[in-house]
Protein backbone atom coordinates (compact mmCIF):
# COMPACT_ATOMS: atom_id res chain seq x y z
CA UNK A 1 0.00 0.00 0.00
CA UNK A 2 1.20 3.47 -0.87
CA UNK A 3 1.62 5.41 2.36
CA UNK A 4 1.57 9.18 2.58
CA UNK A 5 4.27 11.02 4.45
CA UNK A 6 2.72 12.71 7.47
CA UNK A 7 4.65 13.56 10.61
CA UNK A 8 1.45 14.36 12.48
CA UNK A 9 0.96 10.61 12.72
CA UNK A 10 3.35 10.87 15.65
CA UNK A 11 0.47 12.15 17.78
CA UNK A 12 -1.37 8.89 17.23
CA UNK A 13 1.64 6.89 18.28
CA UNK A 14 2.27 9.03 21.33
CA UNK A 15 0.08 7.10 23.83
CA UNK A 16 1.83 3.86 22.94
CA UNK A 17 5.18 5.56 23.18
CA UNK A 18 4.51 6.99 26.64
CA UNK A 19 3.12 3.73 27.97
CA UNK A 20 5.86 1.50 26.62
CA UNK A 21 8.51 4.00 27.65
CA UNK A 22 7.17 3.83 31.18
CA UNK A 23 7.12 0.04 31.25
CA UNK A 24 10.26 -0.61 29.21
CA UNK A 25 12.68 2.30 29.05
CA UNK A 26 12.68 3.32 32.71
CA UNK A 27 13.19 -0.24 33.98
CA UNK A 28 15.88 -0.82 31.39
CA UNK A 29 17.69 2.34 32.51
CA UNK A 30 17.60 1.02 36.08
CA UNK A 31 19.24 -2.14 34.83
CA UNK A 32 21.94 -0.18 33.00
CA UNK A 33 22.50 1.84 36.14
CA UNK A 34 23.01 -1.23 38.32
CA UNK A 35 25.18 -2.96 35.80
CA UNK A 36 27.99 -0.40 36.17
CA UNK A 37 27.84 0.10 39.92
CA UNK A 38 28.64 -1.78 43.08
CA UNK A 39 27.06 -1.42 46.50
CA UNK A 40 27.80 -2.42 50.07
CA UNK A 41 24.26 -1.70 51.17
CA UNK A 42 22.81 1.49 52.68
CA UNK A 43 22.10 2.75 49.18
CA UNK A 44 25.72 3.73 48.74
CA UNK A 45 26.81 2.96 45.20
CA UNK A 46 30.28 2.91 43.66
CA UNK A 47 31.25 3.09 40.04
CA UNK A 48 32.25 -0.38 38.94
CA UNK A 49 32.70 0.19 35.23
CA UNK A 50 32.55 -2.93 33.15
CA UNK A 51 33.61 -5.24 36.00
CA UNK A 52 30.26 -7.01 36.19
CA UNK A 53 30.20 -7.64 32.46
CA UNK A 54 33.66 -9.20 32.52
CA UNK A 55 32.64 -11.21 35.59
CA UNK A 56 29.56 -12.56 33.88
CA UNK A 57 31.27 -13.25 30.57
CA UNK A 58 34.09 -15.08 32.32
CA UNK A 59 31.88 -17.17 34.58
CA UNK A 60 31.22 -20.79 33.71
CA UNK A 61 27.78 -20.37 35.16
CA UNK A 62 26.74 -18.00 32.36
CA UNK A 63 28.19 -20.09 29.53
CA UNK A 64 26.74 -23.29 30.96
CA UNK A 65 23.29 -21.74 31.18
CA UNK A 66 23.61 -20.32 27.67
CA UNK A 67 24.65 -23.72 26.34
CA UNK A 68 21.71 -25.37 28.03
CA UNK A 69 19.42 -22.74 26.51
CA UNK A 70 20.78 -23.30 23.01
CA UNK A 71 20.67 -27.07 23.36
CA UNK A 72 17.08 -26.93 24.58
CA UNK A 73 15.98 -24.59 21.77
CA UNK A 74 17.79 -26.74 19.20
CA UNK A 75 16.16 -29.97 20.33
CA UNK A 76 12.63 -28.62 20.54
CA UNK A 77 12.92 -26.90 17.14
CA UNK A 78 14.22 -30.08 15.53
CA UNK A 79 11.18 -31.95 16.83
CA UNK A 80 8.38 -29.39 16.81
CA UNK A 81 8.82 -27.99 13.30
CA UNK A 82 8.74 -31.32 11.36
CA UNK A 83 6.06 -32.70 13.68
CA UNK A 84 3.98 -29.55 13.21
CA UNK A 85 4.26 -29.80 9.41
CA UNK A 86 3.30 -33.47 9.49
CA UNK A 87 0.21 -32.82 11.58
CA UNK A 88 -0.84 -29.78 9.55
CA UNK A 89 -0.59 -31.80 6.31
CA UNK A 90 -2.89 -34.45 7.74
CA UNK A 91 -5.46 -32.10 9.24
CA UNK A 92 -9.00 -32.43 7.88
CA UNK A 93 -9.62 -29.83 5.19
CA UNK A 94 -13.32 -29.25 5.73
CA UNK A 95 -16.31 -30.38 7.70
CA UNK A 96 -16.89 -30.67 11.41
CA UNK A 97 -13.38 -31.95 12.00
CA UNK A 98 -11.79 -28.56 11.32
CA UNK A 99 -13.16 -26.51 14.23
CA UNK A 100 -12.86 -29.50 16.57
CA UNK A 101 -9.17 -29.96 15.67
CA UNK A 102 -8.41 -26.24 15.87
CA UNK A 103 -10.02 -25.75 19.28
CA UNK A 104 -8.57 -28.89 20.85
CA UNK A 105 -5.11 -28.22 19.47
CA UNK A 106 -5.09 -24.62 20.66
CA UNK A 107 -6.05 -25.65 24.18
CA UNK A 108 -2.51 -26.08 25.58
CA UNK A 109 -1.57 -22.61 24.32
CA UNK A 110 -4.07 -20.99 26.67
CA UNK A 111 -3.12 -22.71 29.87
CA UNK A 112 -1.16 -20.50 32.30
CA UNK A 113 2.46 -21.48 32.07
CA UNK A 114 2.82 -22.55 35.66
CA UNK A 115 -0.28 -24.72 35.33
CA UNK A 116 1.41 -26.35 32.34
CA UNK A 117 4.32 -26.96 34.68
CA UNK A 118 2.01 -28.34 37.36
CA UNK A 119 0.21 -30.62 34.89
CA UNK A 120 3.48 -32.21 33.82
CA UNK A 121 4.91 -32.25 37.31
CA UNK A 122 1.92 -34.31 38.43
CA UNK A 123 1.73 -36.35 35.23
CA UNK A 124 5.34 -37.46 35.50
CA UNK A 125 5.38 -38.34 39.18
CA UNK A 126 6.07 -41.99 39.79
CA UNK A 127 3.63 -42.26 42.69
CA UNK A 128 0.55 -40.42 41.39
CA UNK A 129 1.14 -39.52 37.73
CA UNK A 130 -0.12 -41.51 34.78
CA UNK A 131 3.16 -41.18 32.86
CA UNK A 132 5.44 -41.93 35.80
CA UNK A 133 3.28 -44.80 36.97
CA UNK A 134 3.11 -46.37 33.50
CA UNK A 135 6.87 -46.06 33.12
CA UNK A 136 7.40 -47.73 36.47
CA UNK A 137 4.92 -50.47 35.56
CA UNK A 138 6.83 -51.08 32.32
CA UNK A 139 9.99 -51.41 34.37
CA UNK A 140 11.65 -48.27 32.99
CA UNK A 141 13.68 -46.29 35.46
CA UNK A 142 12.21 -42.81 35.31
CA UNK A 143 12.54 -40.00 37.82
CA UNK A 144 12.68 -36.42 36.69
CA UNK A 145 13.65 -35.18 40.14
CA UNK A 146 16.93 -37.05 40.44
CA UNK A 147 17.92 -38.02 36.95
CA UNK A 148 19.35 -35.36 34.62
CA UNK A 149 18.36 -37.20 31.44
CA UNK A 150 14.81 -37.79 32.66
CA UNK A 151 14.45 -34.15 33.68
CA UNK A 152 15.48 -33.04 30.19
CA UNK A 153 13.17 -35.53 28.51
CA UNK A 154 10.28 -34.34 30.67
CA UNK A 155 10.94 -30.69 29.82
CA UNK A 156 11.26 -31.42 26.11
CA UNK A 157 8.09 -33.52 25.97
CA UNK A 158 6.34 -30.82 27.98
CA UNK A 159 7.43 -28.14 25.52
CA UNK A 160 6.36 -30.26 22.55
CA UNK A 161 3.00 -30.73 24.24
CA UNK A 162 2.71 -27.03 24.96
CA UNK A 163 3.86 -25.43 21.72
CA UNK A 164 3.71 -27.82 18.73
CA UNK A 165 0.15 -26.59 18.17
CA UNK A 166 1.53 -23.15 17.37
CA UNK A 167 3.52 -24.62 14.47
CA UNK A 168 0.49 -26.68 13.39
CA UNK A 169 -1.84 -23.67 13.37
CA UNK A 170 0.59 -21.50 11.43
CA UNK A 171 1.28 -24.24 8.85
CA UNK A 172 -2.41 -24.95 8.57
CA UNK A 173 -3.08 -21.27 7.82
CA UNK A 174 -0.31 -21.37 5.19
CA UNK A 175 -1.69 -24.51 3.56
CA UNK A 176 -5.24 -23.14 3.50
CA UNK A 177 -4.05 -20.22 1.37
CA UNK A 178 -2.99 -22.51 -1.51
CA UNK A 179 -5.52 -22.28 -4.36
CA UNK A 180 -7.11 -25.53 -5.46
CA UNK A 181 -5.88 -24.96 -9.02
CA UNK A 182 -2.31 -25.75 -7.92
CA UNK A 183 -3.31 -29.24 -6.84
CA UNK A 184 -5.33 -29.82 -9.99
CA UNK A 185 -2.36 -28.86 -12.12
CA UNK A 186 -0.16 -31.20 -10.11
CA UNK A 187 -2.66 -34.01 -10.60
CA UNK A 188 -2.74 -33.50 -14.37
CA UNK A 189 1.05 -33.59 -14.42
CA UNK A 190 0.95 -36.80 -12.41
CA UNK A 191 3.06 -35.33 -9.61
CA UNK A 192 3.91 -37.63 -6.73
CA UNK A 193 2.83 -36.90 -3.16
CA UNK A 194 6.41 -35.86 -2.38
CA UNK A 195 6.60 -33.53 -5.39
CA UNK A 196 3.36 -31.84 -4.35
CA UNK A 197 4.82 -31.27 -0.90
CA UNK A 198 8.23 -30.20 -2.10
CA UNK A 199 7.22 -27.87 -4.93
CA UNK A 200 3.76 -26.59 -3.93
CA UNK A 201 3.14 -26.90 -0.21
CA UNK A 202 6.59 -26.22 1.20
CA UNK A 203 7.23 -23.02 -0.78
CA UNK A 204 3.80 -21.72 0.23
CA UNK A 205 4.54 -22.52 3.86
CA UNK A 206 7.97 -20.90 3.81
CA UNK A 207 6.79 -17.66 5.32
CA UNK A 208 4.71 -19.11 8.14
CA UNK A 209 7.45 -21.61 8.87
CA UNK A 210 9.94 -18.78 9.29
CA UNK A 211 7.58 -17.06 11.70
CA UNK A 212 7.02 -20.31 13.60
CA UNK A 213 10.76 -21.00 13.71
CA UNK A 214 11.68 -17.57 15.03
CA UNK A 215 8.82 -17.38 17.53
CA UNK A 216 9.58 -20.81 18.90
CA UNK A 217 13.29 -20.04 19.09
CA UNK A 218 12.81 -16.80 20.96
CA UNK A 219 10.14 -18.07 23.32
CA UNK A 220 12.08 -21.22 24.16
CA UNK A 221 15.14 -19.05 24.68
CA UNK A 222 13.31 -17.12 27.40
CA UNK A 223 11.68 -20.16 29.03
CA UNK A 224 11.28 -19.69 32.76
CA UNK A 225 8.04 -20.73 34.39
CA UNK A 226 7.70 -24.33 33.24
CA UNK A 227 11.17 -25.58 34.22
CA UNK A 228 10.91 -23.50 37.40
CA UNK A 229 7.76 -25.38 38.40
CA UNK A 230 8.78 -28.84 37.22
CA UNK A 231 12.43 -29.09 38.17
CA UNK A 232 13.26 -25.78 39.84
CA UNK A 233 16.44 -25.76 37.73
CA UNK A 234 17.61 -29.11 39.04
CA UNK A 235 18.77 -31.76 39.50
CA UNK A 236 21.79 -29.73 40.52
CA UNK A 237 21.94 -27.09 37.84
CA UNK A 238 21.06 -29.41 34.97
CA UNK A 239 18.01 -27.45 33.85
CA UNK A 240 19.02 -23.97 35.02
CA UNK A 241 18.40 -21.86 31.94
CA UNK A 242 19.47 -18.24 31.58
CA UNK A 243 16.25 -16.75 32.89
CA UNK A 244 16.14 -19.07 35.90
CA UNK A 245 19.74 -18.19 36.64
CA UNK A 246 18.90 -14.52 36.27
CA UNK A 247 15.96 -14.59 38.65
CA UNK A 248 18.00 -16.59 41.17
CA UNK A 249 20.75 -13.96 41.08
CA UNK A 250 18.49 -10.91 41.06
CA UNK A 251 15.69 -11.80 43.45
CA UNK A 252 17.06 -14.83 45.26
CA UNK A 253 20.53 -13.53 46.12
CA UNK A 254 19.84 -9.84 45.41
CA UNK A 255 23.15 -9.52 43.57
CA UNK A 256 22.08 -6.49 41.61
CA UNK A 257 25.29 -5.82 39.70
CA UNK A 258 25.85 -9.25 38.15
CA UNK A 259 22.12 -9.68 37.60
CA UNK A 260 21.91 -6.38 35.74
CA UNK A 261 24.95 -7.16 33.61
CA UNK A 262 23.52 -10.59 32.82
CA UNK A 263 20.18 -8.96 31.95
CA UNK A 264 21.81 -6.64 29.46
CA UNK A 265 23.81 -9.39 27.79
CA UNK A 266 20.66 -11.50 27.62
CA UNK A 267 18.73 -8.58 26.21
CA UNK A 268 21.34 -7.92 23.53
CA UNK A 269 21.05 -11.51 22.34
CA UNK A 270 17.27 -11.09 22.14
CA UNK A 271 17.71 -7.78 20.33
CA UNK A 272 19.81 -9.46 17.67
CA UNK A 273 17.21 -12.20 17.26
CA UNK A 274 14.40 -9.65 17.05
CA UNK A 275 16.28 -7.82 14.35
CA UNK A 276 16.53 -11.01 12.30
CA UNK A 277 12.83 -11.62 12.89
CA UNK A 278 11.94 -8.07 11.84
CA UNK A 279 14.05 -8.22 8.69
CA UNK A 280 12.50 -11.53 7.68
CA UNK A 281 8.98 -10.25 8.33
CA UNK A 282 9.35 -6.96 6.48
CA UNK A 283 11.15 -8.61 3.57
CA UNK A 284 8.40 -11.14 3.10
CA UNK A 285 5.83 -8.35 3.50
CA UNK A 286 7.49 -6.60 0.59
CA UNK A 287 7.43 -9.76 -1.53
CA UNK A 288 3.74 -10.51 -1.15
Amino acid sequence: MQKTWNNKAWFMVLPVLVLVAFSAVIPLMTVVNYSVQDTFGNNAFFWAGTDWFTDVLQSDRFWDALQRNLLFSGIILAIEIPLGILIALNMPKKGLGVPVCLVLMALPLLIPWNVVGTIWQVFGRVDIGLLGYTMAALGIQYNYVNNVFDAWVTLIVMDIWHWTSLVVLLCYAGLASIPDAYYQAAKIDGASRWAVFRYIQLPKMKRVLLIAFLLRFMDSFMIYTEPFVITGGGPGNATTFLSIDLVKTAIGQFDLGPAAALSLIYFLIILLLSWIFYTVMTNSDAQT
Binding site: P99, A106, I111, V208, F267, L273
Partner: protein, 279 residues
Protein backbone atom coordinates in the same frame (compact mmCIF):
# COMPACT_ATOMS: atom_id res chain seq x y z
CA UNK B 1 -10.19 -20.92 3.74
CA UNK B 2 -11.70 -24.19 2.62
CA UNK B 3 -10.52 -24.30 -0.95
CA UNK B 4 -11.52 -27.95 -1.12
CA UNK B 5 -8.03 -29.38 -1.20
CA UNK B 6 -9.34 -32.91 -0.96
CA UNK B 7 -8.96 -33.37 -4.70
CA UNK B 8 -5.28 -34.11 -5.02
CA UNK B 9 -2.80 -33.93 -2.16
CA UNK B 10 -3.62 -37.20 -0.51
CA UNK B 11 -2.39 -40.09 -2.60
CA UNK B 12 -4.80 -42.99 -2.56
CA UNK B 13 -3.04 -44.87 0.24
CA UNK B 14 -2.71 -41.86 2.50
CA UNK B 15 -6.38 -40.98 2.65
CA UNK B 16 -7.40 -43.69 5.01
CA UNK B 17 -4.58 -43.11 7.46
CA UNK B 18 -4.40 -39.34 7.43
CA UNK B 19 -6.96 -38.93 10.23
CA UNK B 20 -4.70 -40.98 12.46
CA UNK B 21 -1.98 -38.33 12.82
CA UNK B 22 -4.11 -35.49 14.21
CA UNK B 23 -6.08 -37.95 16.30
CA UNK B 24 -2.98 -39.33 17.97
CA UNK B 25 -1.67 -35.82 18.49
CA UNK B 26 -4.90 -34.64 20.09
CA UNK B 27 -4.89 -37.72 22.29
CA UNK B 28 -1.39 -36.81 23.39
CA UNK B 29 -2.56 -33.27 24.15
CA UNK B 30 -5.60 -34.34 26.10
CA UNK B 31 -4.05 -37.08 28.20
CA UNK B 32 -2.23 -34.82 30.72
CA UNK B 33 -5.25 -32.52 30.88
CA UNK B 34 -7.51 -35.51 31.51
CA UNK B 35 -5.23 -36.60 34.31
CA UNK B 36 -5.54 -33.19 35.97
CA UNK B 37 -9.34 -33.22 35.65
CA UNK B 38 -9.40 -36.77 36.92
CA UNK B 39 -7.35 -35.81 39.98
CA UNK B 40 -9.50 -32.80 40.71
CA UNK B 41 -12.50 -35.06 41.38
CA UNK B 42 -10.62 -37.44 43.65
CA UNK B 43 -10.04 -37.34 47.36
CA UNK B 44 -6.45 -36.95 48.49
CA UNK B 45 -6.45 -40.48 49.90
CA UNK B 46 -7.44 -41.84 46.52
CA UNK B 47 -4.81 -39.75 44.74
CA UNK B 48 -1.92 -40.85 46.91
CA UNK B 49 -3.20 -44.23 48.05
CA UNK B 50 -4.47 -46.01 44.95
CA UNK B 51 -3.88 -45.73 41.25
CA UNK B 52 -7.13 -45.30 39.35
CA UNK B 53 -7.81 -44.16 35.82
CA UNK B 54 -11.06 -42.49 36.81
CA UNK B 55 -12.36 -41.26 40.19
CA UNK B 56 -13.93 -44.25 41.95
CA UNK B 57 -15.35 -42.05 44.63
CA UNK B 58 -16.04 -38.73 42.85
CA UNK B 59 -16.03 -35.74 45.13
CA UNK B 60 -16.58 -32.03 44.67
CA UNK B 61 -14.71 -31.25 47.87
CA UNK B 62 -11.67 -29.82 46.04
CA UNK B 63 -13.82 -27.34 44.14
CA UNK B 64 -15.77 -26.55 47.29
CA UNK B 65 -12.52 -25.60 49.03
CA UNK B 66 -11.72 -23.12 46.28
CA UNK B 67 -15.17 -21.57 46.05
CA UNK B 68 -15.58 -21.14 49.80
CA UNK B 69 -12.11 -19.92 50.76
CA UNK B 70 -11.60 -16.21 49.87
CA UNK B 71 -7.83 -16.61 49.69
CA UNK B 72 -8.46 -19.01 46.79
CA UNK B 73 -11.31 -17.54 44.83
CA UNK B 74 -10.01 -13.99 45.22
CA UNK B 75 -7.03 -15.11 43.20
CA UNK B 76 -9.33 -15.68 40.24
CA UNK B 77 -10.97 -12.31 40.73
CA UNK B 78 -7.57 -10.61 40.94
CA UNK B 79 -6.35 -12.31 37.79
CA UNK B 80 -9.47 -11.38 35.87
CA UNK B 81 -9.34 -7.76 37.08
CA UNK B 82 -5.80 -7.09 35.95
CA UNK B 83 -6.17 -9.08 32.74
CA UNK B 84 -9.25 -7.10 31.72
CA UNK B 85 -7.61 -3.79 32.69
CA UNK B 86 -4.57 -4.71 30.67
CA UNK B 87 -6.61 -5.73 27.64
CA UNK B 88 -8.61 -2.49 27.66
CA UNK B 89 -5.51 -0.30 28.07
CA UNK B 90 -3.46 -2.18 25.50
CA UNK B 91 -6.10 -2.26 22.77
CA UNK B 92 -7.23 1.34 23.22
CA UNK B 93 -3.73 2.83 22.99
CA UNK B 94 -2.76 0.45 20.20
CA UNK B 95 -5.69 1.38 17.94
CA UNK B 96 -4.55 4.90 16.89
CA UNK B 97 -0.92 3.80 16.76
CA UNK B 98 -1.69 0.86 14.49
CA UNK B 99 -3.70 3.19 12.25
CA UNK B 100 -0.75 5.57 12.02
CA UNK B 101 1.63 2.72 11.14
CA UNK B 102 -0.67 1.25 8.52
CA UNK B 103 -1.56 4.54 6.78
CA UNK B 104 1.30 6.97 7.13
CA UNK B 105 5.03 7.22 6.83
CA UNK B 106 6.61 9.47 9.42
CA UNK B 107 9.97 10.30 10.90
CA UNK B 108 11.44 7.20 12.54
CA UNK B 109 8.41 4.98 11.93
CA UNK B 110 10.39 1.87 11.06
CA UNK B 111 12.71 2.23 14.04
CA UNK B 112 9.74 2.72 16.30
CA UNK B 113 8.00 -0.36 14.93
CA UNK B 114 11.12 -2.42 15.46
CA UNK B 115 11.59 -1.08 18.96
CA UNK B 116 8.03 -2.15 19.81
CA UNK B 117 8.80 -5.63 18.59
CA UNK B 118 11.89 -5.93 20.79
CA UNK B 119 9.65 -5.33 23.80
CA UNK B 120 7.41 -8.20 22.79
CA UNK B 121 10.48 -10.39 22.60
CA UNK B 122 12.08 -9.14 25.82
CA UNK B 123 12.49 -11.82 28.47
CA UNK B 124 10.25 -11.02 31.47
CA UNK B 125 13.05 -12.22 33.73
CA UNK B 126 15.09 -9.16 32.74
CA UNK B 127 12.30 -6.83 33.82
CA UNK B 128 11.17 -8.51 37.03
CA UNK B 129 13.51 -6.70 39.40
CA UNK B 130 13.41 -3.20 37.84
CA UNK B 131 9.62 -3.44 37.67
CA UNK B 132 9.52 -4.24 41.34
CA UNK B 133 11.61 -1.18 42.14
CA UNK B 134 9.77 1.12 39.74
CA UNK B 135 6.35 0.23 41.07
CA UNK B 136 7.61 0.36 44.66
CA UNK B 137 8.74 3.92 44.02
CA UNK B 138 5.23 4.81 42.88
CA UNK B 139 3.64 2.92 45.77
CA UNK B 140 1.82 0.65 43.35
CA UNK B 141 3.05 -2.71 44.58
CA UNK B 142 0.24 -5.18 45.17
CA UNK B 143 -2.30 -3.28 43.09
CA UNK B 144 -4.06 -4.55 39.99
CA UNK B 145 -3.07 -1.55 37.93
CA UNK B 146 0.63 -2.29 38.51
CA UNK B 147 0.34 -5.73 36.93
CA UNK B 148 -1.90 -4.37 34.17
CA UNK B 149 0.64 -1.68 33.29
CA UNK B 150 3.57 -4.06 33.54
CA UNK B 151 1.93 -6.51 31.15
CA UNK B 152 1.57 -3.66 28.67
CA UNK B 153 5.28 -4.17 28.10
CA UNK B 154 4.58 -7.11 25.81
CA UNK B 155 0.86 -6.71 25.11
CA UNK B 156 0.87 -3.20 23.64
CA UNK B 157 3.47 -4.10 20.98
CA UNK B 158 1.56 -7.31 20.27
CA UNK B 159 -1.72 -5.41 19.86
CA UNK B 160 -0.07 -2.81 17.60
CA UNK B 161 1.40 -5.52 15.37
CA UNK B 162 -1.80 -7.54 15.12
CA UNK B 163 -4.00 -4.49 14.47
CA UNK B 164 -1.56 -3.13 11.92
CA UNK B 165 -1.78 -6.44 10.07
CA UNK B 166 -5.57 -6.28 9.98
CA UNK B 167 -5.68 -2.57 9.11
CA UNK B 168 -3.36 -2.98 6.17
CA UNK B 169 -6.00 -5.25 4.69
CA UNK B 170 -8.54 -2.41 4.60
CA UNK B 171 -8.24 -0.43 1.34
CA UNK B 172 -7.18 3.16 1.75
CA UNK B 173 -9.93 4.31 -0.59
CA UNK B 174 -12.42 3.81 2.23
CA UNK B 175 -10.66 6.49 4.31
CA UNK B 176 -10.57 8.87 1.38
CA UNK B 177 -14.21 8.35 0.44
CA UNK B 178 -15.25 9.05 4.02
CA UNK B 179 -13.34 12.33 4.06
CA UNK B 180 -14.94 13.37 0.78
CA UNK B 181 -18.33 12.57 2.28
CA UNK B 182 -17.53 15.09 4.99
CA UNK B 183 -16.67 12.83 7.91
CA UNK B 184 -14.30 14.28 10.49
CA UNK B 185 -11.43 12.01 11.47
CA UNK B 186 -12.76 10.95 14.92
CA UNK B 187 -16.25 10.34 13.51
CA UNK B 188 -14.84 8.33 10.63
CA UNK B 189 -12.62 6.31 12.95
CA UNK B 190 -15.38 5.38 15.38
CA UNK B 191 -18.32 5.06 12.97
CA UNK B 192 -16.73 3.48 9.92
CA UNK B 193 -13.25 2.21 10.59
CA UNK B 194 -13.69 0.40 13.90
CA UNK B 195 -16.64 -1.70 12.64
CA UNK B 196 -14.55 -2.61 9.60
CA UNK B 197 -11.71 -4.05 11.67
CA UNK B 198 -13.91 -5.42 14.45
CA UNK B 199 -12.53 -8.93 13.97
CA UNK B 200 -8.99 -7.60 14.24
CA UNK B 201 -9.83 -5.84 17.48
CA UNK B 202 -11.36 -9.05 18.77
CA UNK B 203 -8.24 -11.02 17.93
CA UNK B 204 -5.93 -8.40 19.44
CA UNK B 205 -8.02 -8.33 22.61
CA UNK B 206 -7.99 -12.11 22.76
CA UNK B 207 -4.21 -12.25 22.50
CA UNK B 208 -3.74 -9.55 25.13
CA UNK B 209 -6.11 -11.45 27.38
CA UNK B 210 -4.29 -14.68 26.76
CA UNK B 211 -0.72 -13.48 27.28
CA UNK B 212 -1.67 -11.57 30.40
CA UNK B 213 -3.53 -14.62 31.69
CA UNK B 214 -0.68 -17.08 31.20
CA UNK B 215 2.12 -14.83 32.49
CA UNK B 216 3.28 -15.55 36.00
CA UNK B 217 6.76 -14.19 36.67
CA UNK B 218 5.94 -10.47 36.56
CA UNK B 219 2.50 -10.85 38.10
CA UNK B 220 3.99 -12.76 41.01
CA UNK B 221 6.83 -10.30 41.51
CA UNK B 222 4.54 -7.27 41.69
CA UNK B 223 1.95 -8.65 44.08
CA UNK B 224 2.00 -9.81 47.68
CA UNK B 225 -1.53 -10.44 48.94
CA UNK B 226 -4.27 -8.09 47.77
CA UNK B 227 -3.76 -8.50 44.04
CA UNK B 228 -2.13 -11.92 43.97
CA UNK B 229 -3.06 -13.85 40.83
CA UNK B 230 -4.47 -17.36 41.03
CA UNK B 231 -1.44 -18.74 39.25
CA UNK B 232 0.78 -17.56 42.09
CA UNK B 233 -1.56 -18.76 44.83
CA UNK B 234 -1.44 -22.21 43.28
CA UNK B 235 2.24 -22.50 44.05
CA UNK B 236 1.43 -22.63 47.76
CA UNK B 237 -0.72 -25.69 48.23
CA UNK B 238 1.68 -27.34 50.63
CA UNK B 239 0.01 -27.64 54.01
CA UNK B 240 1.01 -29.29 57.27
CA UNK B 241 -0.43 -32.60 56.13
CA UNK B 242 1.61 -32.52 52.93
CA UNK B 243 0.67 -31.52 49.44
CA UNK B 244 -3.03 -30.91 48.80
CA UNK B 245 -3.02 -32.46 45.33
CA UNK B 246 -6.78 -32.45 44.88
CA UNK B 247 -7.14 -28.72 45.43
CA UNK B 248 -4.10 -28.01 43.28
CA UNK B 249 -5.66 -30.01 40.44
CA UNK B 250 -9.03 -28.31 40.85
CA UNK B 251 -7.38 -24.87 40.80
CA UNK B 252 -5.50 -25.86 37.64
CA UNK B 253 -8.67 -27.03 35.92
CA UNK B 254 -10.37 -23.74 36.76
CA UNK B 255 -7.52 -21.76 35.15
CA UNK B 256 -7.97 -23.69 31.89
CA UNK B 257 -11.69 -22.90 31.59
CA UNK B 258 -11.55 -19.17 30.59
CA UNK B 259 -9.12 -19.95 27.76
CA UNK B 260 -11.18 -22.91 26.60
CA UNK B 261 -14.28 -20.70 26.38
CA UNK B 262 -12.80 -17.78 24.45
CA UNK B 263 -10.77 -19.99 22.11
CA UNK B 264 -13.91 -21.09 20.31
CA UNK B 265 -14.64 -17.57 19.11
CA UNK B 266 -11.23 -16.93 17.61
CA UNK B 267 -10.42 -20.41 16.30
CA UNK B 268 -10.00 -19.23 12.71
CA UNK B 269 -7.80 -16.28 13.64
CA UNK B 270 -5.43 -17.90 16.13
CA UNK B 271 -2.75 -18.51 13.51
CA UNK B 272 -2.99 -14.96 12.28
CA UNK B 273 -2.62 -13.63 15.79
CA UNK B 274 0.45 -15.73 16.55
CA UNK B 275 2.03 -14.55 13.31
CA UNK B 276 1.46 -10.99 14.62
CA UNK B 277 -1.25 -10.33 12.06
CA UNK B 278 0.84 -11.49 9.14
CA UNK B 279 -0.38 -14.70 7.57
Amino acid sequence: MTTATQSAPMASGGVRLSWLVPTLYILFLLLPIYWLVNMSFKTNTEITGTFSLYPHDPTLRNYAVIFTDPSWYKGYINSIIYVVMNTVIAVSVALPAAYAFSRYRFLGDKHLFFWLLTNRMAPPAVFALPFFQLYSAFGLIDTHIAVALAHCLFNVPLAVWILEGFMSGVPKEIDETAYIDGYSFPKFFVKIYIPLIASGIGVAAFFCFMFSWVELLIARTLTTTDAKPIAAIMTRTVSASGMDWGVLAAAGVLTIIPGAIVIYFVRNYIAKGFALGRV
